[in-house]
Amino acid sequence: MNSTGFEPRIVAFLCNWCTYTAADTAGVSRMEQPPNVDIIRVMCTGRVNPVFVLKAFAEGADGVIVSGCHPPNDCHYQEGNYKTFRRMPLLEMMLDQYGIEKGRFHWGWISGAEAPKWAQLVRDFTEQVRQLGPLNWKRQIESKE
């Protein structure tokens, strides 16, 4: 950890069956990952109300990930990932309007067998958010008032 640098805080909403398992596997396999990502497990990305993402940013997250099972057929609950697929682009538009930079929100699909992909995502995304700097959304909102 770099004591001089900014360490981004990233919240990841992962579906239990795919990406969470991948993350679990990545951890167990000791794949190299920075510790910046905090994981919140949901049963399915379909459970992810876009409000959760906003809440995370509001509470202080610098970046948010939502990741679940691959469409078309992997979703454990058949179609939950499709609902996510519909909600997330709309959410992106909203985040943009709020002034939250594009690079701070990532949503995608990682299956349970793709642990290396998860580790890579963590590395890349952490670096990406680090470059963007801290968001401090709460402070920003308060300061604008």
């Binding site: 805080r9 399915c44 058949q78």
Partner: protein, 598 residues
């Protein structure tokens, strides 16, 4: 009860019986042509003439009409009778010299050549009147009758013109002893005189049917058809089956019954349909009676089939060259892209059967040989050793030649050449597909379908017999192409799972389910369509949504979507997740000790 003597044998007769009926019941043979057990006796052919001695007077009478009175003495083969039959057959043979049944009967009485000048060698009708009587008495269509008299007498519809009164039932052709009446089937894909489908309106579906009891096809049955045609006026046409059934088992008044059962589990084992090869015209299916599907070949080769299991062409010859084409409609982007899985093995079996039953050369056009199972590969080798020629390349086209032979064209990929072979019989290993009413079945049981059209299992690897609807299982090809051993295993699995469910008597469900707060629910119905398990229903009386806790899997999609926030996802409530998010940022960031890298 009457007693009479026939050929020296004492026999007994019931009231109303004729001499012919009594003789036949006692195993005494009398030749007949115009008599039929279901029709009134007519007495036209005179062949059943016997000598009847009554009160000392001897006369020649027809046994089909003469009542079996008490005290009669009957001689069925006295010299007078034999001479009479001989002369009658001479007369008949001179009228219809080329009718096999007349030739046979005549030969039995020593007549080999027609002794009188023959007027029309192609004449087949012997004016027995069976067609007229069956049409009048049984079918009650009254289409056929005699017209003109004497030697001009002939049978036909009024003025010998086609008439719409004829319902095409075919009773006249069946009853005609000489084959003078023919029904011509248009577009018969298989042999006209030996159709592979049901030949009568009452039939046993197959020799392996369970129960092996005949059914009446009410669309073909004369009684039902006539009843419909005449709006109930002719309600008792035919009924031949009922008249003949000794067990009295036929009941025309049976109605469809709708039975309601409360069941705990459902196993969907609706099988498959054969794809229609006419959809790919290059195979020319339907253009020749000798291009048949694999299923038709199975029927042909079956001991209970139209040829008692012999492999014969439509004219009764054995084929000399046979081609089997794999993947007709399978692995084909113009039809079905998937592989139908079990056709390779049965095509090898067919090749083996052809080699075994005939001396024909067999050419098998295949793309890949799927011999995946136990002893399958060994069988494949064996068939090759039996001399079947394997051509690696899908049979591309079947051409019907003018002389009736079939030209199969394809590419032999191993040789890298286009090849063609002229054969007598082509067997198309036709693709299988989901049954044609699969969408209705799916809607009924809440099943989804995979891209290939078959019903979707819960998980392609781990849950082959379960569906997304709890308690509904899949068995067999309904879930996807598989051969018999796999079907048995699959079905066994479905049965076990169903039994396990039933056995428990109760269903254990996960507590992670969604619950609707009826007070908060605003009846927008957004959640209802979202649920992939159809677990949410709308209660009209309460005007709220309701989650079926047995069906809910707890994915939380409805929870996230509810605009009113009326749905709680137990154990993953919004409050809990929010608390988690808050908690993450209340905690201090974990500080690692110096020098320790993450």
């Amino acid at each position: 009860m009457a007693t009479l003597i026939i050929d020296g044998q004492e026999v007994h007769a019931e009231e109303g019986q004729t001499i012919l009926e009594v003789a036949r019941a006692n195993g005494i043979e009398i030749p007949t042509l115009c008599s039929h057990p279901l029709l009134e006796p007519y007495g036209a052919c005179r062949l059943c003439t016997v000598e009847v001695i009554r009160r000392g007077w001897s006369r020649l009478e027809t046994s089909c009409t003469h009542p079996a009175w008490d005290g009669l003495e009957v001689k069925t083969r006295s010299p007078a009778v034999i001479e009479a039959r001989k002369v009658l057959l001479e007369l008949m043979l001179s009228r219809t010299p080329n009718v096999p049944v007349i030739q046979e009967l005549a030969r039995a009485y020593g007549v080999t050549e027609p002794p009188y000048p023959v007027e029309d060698p192609q004449e087949k009708c012997i004016l027995c009147g069976l067609c007229v009587r069956v049409c009048r008495e049984l079918v009650k269509a009254n289409v056929l009758d005699f017209s003109q008299a004497g030697i001009e007498r002939r049978v036909g519809p009024p003025f010998l013109e086609k008439t719409r009164q004829c319902i095409g039932c075919g009773a006249c052709t069946i009853v005609c002893p000489t084959g003078a009446i023919e029904i011509v089937l248009a577009n018969a894909a298989v042999y006209q005189e030996k159709p592979l489908g049901p030949t009568s309106a009452i039939w046993v579906p197959s020799l392996q049917a369970v129960p092996r009891v005949p059914v009446i096809d009410t669309d073909a049955c004369i009684r039902f058809r006539q009843n419909d045609r005449t709006d109930g006026e002719t309600a008792d046409a035919c009924g031949a089956c009922q008249m003949l059934c000794e067990a009295g088992a036929i009941d025309f008044t049976q109605q469809d019954e709708i039975v309601e059962l409360d069941v705990g589990t459902i196993i969907v084992a609706t099988g498959y349909n054969l794809w229609d090869p006419t959809l790919l015209s290059q195979y020319s299916y339907g253009q020749s009676p000798h291009i048949i599907t694999s299923m038709e070949f199975e029927h042909l080769s079956n001991a209970g089939g139209p040829t008692s299991g012999q492999i014969l062409l439509s004219d009764g010859r054995k084929p000399q060259r046979v081609a089997i084409i794999h993947c007709v409609g399978s692995r084909d982007h113009n039809a079905h892209p998937y592989c139908s899985r079990f056709c390779c093995m049965y095509s090898l079996k067919h090749a083996h059967q052809v080699r075994d039953k005939t001396d024909a050369q067999v050419y098998e056009f295949y793309m890949d040989m799927r011999a995946f199972g136990k002893a399958y590969e060994e069988f494949y080798e064996r068939v090759q050793e039996e001399g079947v020629t394997m051509v690696r390349g899908r049979g591309a086209e079947v051409e019907v030649l003018p002389d009736g032979q079939l030209r199969v064209k394809g590419e032999d990929a191993n040789l890298g050449r286009l090849v063609q072979v002229d054969v007598d019989l082509v067997i198309l290993a036709t693709a299988i597909e989901a049954p044609h009413d699969a969408d209705r079945v799916a809607a009924l049981f809440g099943l989804s379908r995979t891209e290939d059209g078959f019903f979707a299992e819960s998980h392609p690897k781990l849950r082959p017999v379960e569906t997304n609807t709890d308690g509904v299982f899949l068995a067999g090809v309904a879930q996807g192409p598989k051969d018999v051993p796999d079907t048995v295993a699959h079905a066994g699995a479905a049965a076990s799972m169903a039994l396990a469910l039933l056995d428990k008597g109760e269903v254990t469900i996960s507590p992670q389910i969604a619950v609707v707060d009826e007070e908060l629910c605003s009846a927008c119905k957004t959640c209802i369509v979202l649920c992939p398990y159809t677990a949410i229903s709308f209660l009209e009386d309460k005007n709220v949504a309701h989650v079926n806790e047995a069906l809910c899997k707890g994915c939380g999609t409805c929870v996230a979507a509810c605009p009113a926030g009326a749905i709680t996802g137990r154990h993953f409530t919004t409050e809990q997740i929010m608390a988690q998010i808050e908690g993450l940022f209340r905690m201090p960031i974990p500080q690692l000790a110096e020098g320790v890298s993450p």
